[in-house]
């Protein structure tokens, strides 16, 4: 595979459009934020909406992944997360330890599968 440094004009065009497609949400959010009271109910509701959206997105990526992560068994991903959450609660909500554990378990399981120790 050769290194492709510079993109074509059409590719840049799509990139520009997609940039605007994301910018609009950020822009609208910043613009309407001026009318929101940080102590009010609407702010609390939006906060819930944001957290639910992000949690839904992350759960979807873990349970129904696309791309290379989609080639791994659900069991492996579940084990990595179970191990991570175990450490998370044992060590009083330690995000760092939990993340490293999930990473290590996933790496270990994938290597074991590659070496045919697990089928």
């Amino acid at each position: 595979m050769s290194l492709d440094l510079w993109g074509s004009a059409s590719l840049w065009g799509i990139t520009g459009l997609c940039f605007l497609g994301t910018l609009i949400w950020r822009f609208l959010g910043a613009a309407f934020a001026a009318h929101i009271n940080p102590e009010g109910a609407i702010f609390q509701w939006l906060n819930c909406v944001a957290y639910a959206m992000l949690a839904g997105l992350v759960a979807r990526i873990l349970l129904l992944p696309i791309g290379i992560l989609g080639t791994t068994p659900t069991f492996d991903r579940a084990m990595a997360m179970v191990a991570g959450f175990s450490l998370f609660f044992i060590l009083r909500r330690n995000v760092f330890a939990a993340t490293i554990t999930a990473f290590a378990v996933m790496l270990g399981l994938t290597i074991l599968r590659d070496m045919k120790y697990l089928s």
């Binding site: 492709d4 065009g13 950020r26 609390q44 944001a50 957290y51 839904g56 998370f88």
Partner: protein, 222 residues
């Protein structure tokens, strides 16, 4: 820690971009300009499939719709700090899940005039990390063992699920739990609209549930 996460996540994106036939300059421009993985991944994958421009634009934009509620609850934290209006838009542009979760947690403890520098500081570091990650992933694509790539890609969602699980406000915790179930379920019905719908349904439900249960024990809740 957030820098490691964002760098590894963008390494994953860089190698995906290379495999999909994108050029390096466009890959980096996407990371810096869109600065939101779901929208970037949607753009790259659909482009590689040869999808029509409008379909790419809509999927990529929907993938990053979460920035709307995120910006709505971020910007009010800066109110009254005496800075010009355009700084709000700059903050909204540099915002990512990483910066947002850190900021939402610490903002109440930070002095009003220090919040914007804090936000932009963390944001810039993440942006640099993300750019380095994209270039790294792009140049290293195919040379890394697949097991490492897989574990690196898992690192990102795993980290965020742990971060969300350590949120302190009760209504947000309910929203995270409900959202984790609703997101994958809705995805099987409608892939494009699943995330915005999850936010609206699970988020509203969490908000109402929290309010309804608070009313009963109003005296105890401060």
């Amino acid at each position: 820690m957030p820098t490691i996460i964002v760098t590894s996540a963008m390494t994953g994106f860089g190698s995906l971009a290379r495999d999909s036939g994108l050029s390096l300059d466009v890959s980096v421009a996407l990371s810096i300009g869109l600065w939101g993985l779901p929208g970037q991944v949607a753009m790259v994958e659909l482009w590689a499939m040869g999808a029509p421009v409008l379909a790419i634009l809509i999927a990529s934009s929907m993938g990053n719709l979460r920035f709307l509620p995120m910006a709505l609850v971020t910007v009010p934290w800066f109110r009254g700090d005496g800075r010009a209006n355009w700084t709000r838009y700059l903050a909204a542009q540099i915002m990512s899940i990483n910066i947002w979760t850190i900021f939402m947690r610490h903002a109440p403890m930070i002095r009003l005039d220090q919040r914007y520098p804090y936000f932009m500081g963390v944001g810039s570091i993440c942006l640099v990390g993300g750019t380095i990650g994209t270039v790294l992933g792009y140049t290293l694509a195919g040379t890394m063992p697949p097991a490492v790539t897989i574990a690196l890609i898992l690192l990102n969602p795993a980290y965020f699920l742990f971060v969300f699980s350590s949120v302190r406000q009760r209504n947000c915790i309910i929203a995270v739990i409900l959202g984790s179930f609703t997101g994958p379920l809705l995805h099987q019905l409608t892939a494009d609209w699943a995330i915005p719908l999850t936010g609206l349904i699970a988020g509203s439900l969490a908000f109402l549930l929290d309010r309804a249960t608070k009313k009963n024990g109003n005296d105890r809740v401060t």
